[in-house]
Amino acid sequence: MRINELTAAADCLEKERFGSQCRRLMQEYQRQERREEALHIFGGLFEQAFVQGKRAAWLGISSLYTSVQNGVFEYFLAVYGEEFYLDSEPVAGFWIPSAFQECMEEDIRSVMKELHSRFPRIRQYEEAEIYRVCAAYYDAALGRLCQDLADELSETECFSRMEKTERFGIFFGRYQGEGEILWRITAG
């Protein structure tokens, strides 16, 4: 099927590009300014959870197909109570991480340009699948960044003030789907 050929070709092209983009992102997020910007976003959520008197069990950072579909690199952030996904009132927000959007847009433009030269008449539904292929690399990178930020995040004042369960954790994954635990409060 052509869609499989297209996504395989997109994956090869993105793999080639991603190495240099990843280095660029690492450099960006070594800058204190960028890290503080990210911590500020999470801090805002923790602050809101504190104001609402929420007993937080999890902070979830979730990728969204609805955003990728439209070429946007936006994440869903939510502080959940012990009911986890069944929490009907999570403290939530959306986040477009700085530099990620620009890098992904550049990649998509470049990958699409190359694919247009190889595949005639790429349709909208095919484009959406190509976006997903590119976004998967950035999801992995953002997951690592969040893991890297977790210790700093746990030392912020907003985090300390928020009421938490004893085993509060941070995870990264799909919206209301599977995820990876990045960080947890350890006993003692």
């Binding site: 805002g44 197909y65 609805t66 439209n70 952030l77 939510a78 939530a92 927000g93 959306f94 539904y125």
Partner: protein, 175 residues
Amino acid sequence: MADNGRMRYFLLTDSGRNPFPEIGGWSQALDIRKMNRREYRELPSSFQLNMRTGMDHILPDILVAPFLLLSEPAMHVVSFYDPEIPWCFAVLFGDSGKECASYFCPILEEEDCVVKEAYREGEIIRLDSKKMKGLPLFWIRVKDRKKTVIRMDLAESLLMRHAVGMELKATIMEE
């Protein structure tokens, strides 16, 4: 930057950039004015439609024109989110007579939640959250035209299952 609010809603759209079949013969098959929760029982529970297909056409999971039609897998996902939705069964026949496909037509609730005074042609549609019931899939009326709105969690669920034919346009929620 972060944006507050935990649920988003999108318009289901069709940019016409996909090789989807074009549906014909619907005005003879049913009176679409009765496609609403009050009168849908007067519609036939199943009907046949013609589809015009191109050389490289595909049959998507979601067709938005002339009215919303969903494939069986998509129908099951939607029913999981809202079991109250009534459905009509539609069979699409290709011009050649060699191809046919079955689809399901949801009869959705129409919500009067569009912030009308704010809307100008081509603008992003604004929805008044206080007037919304929180349904996962519903119709709104914009300038006498029905449009389908989908809640983010249902859209995510369909996209996770690689539903073909989902084109989304953001709406703005007003508190």
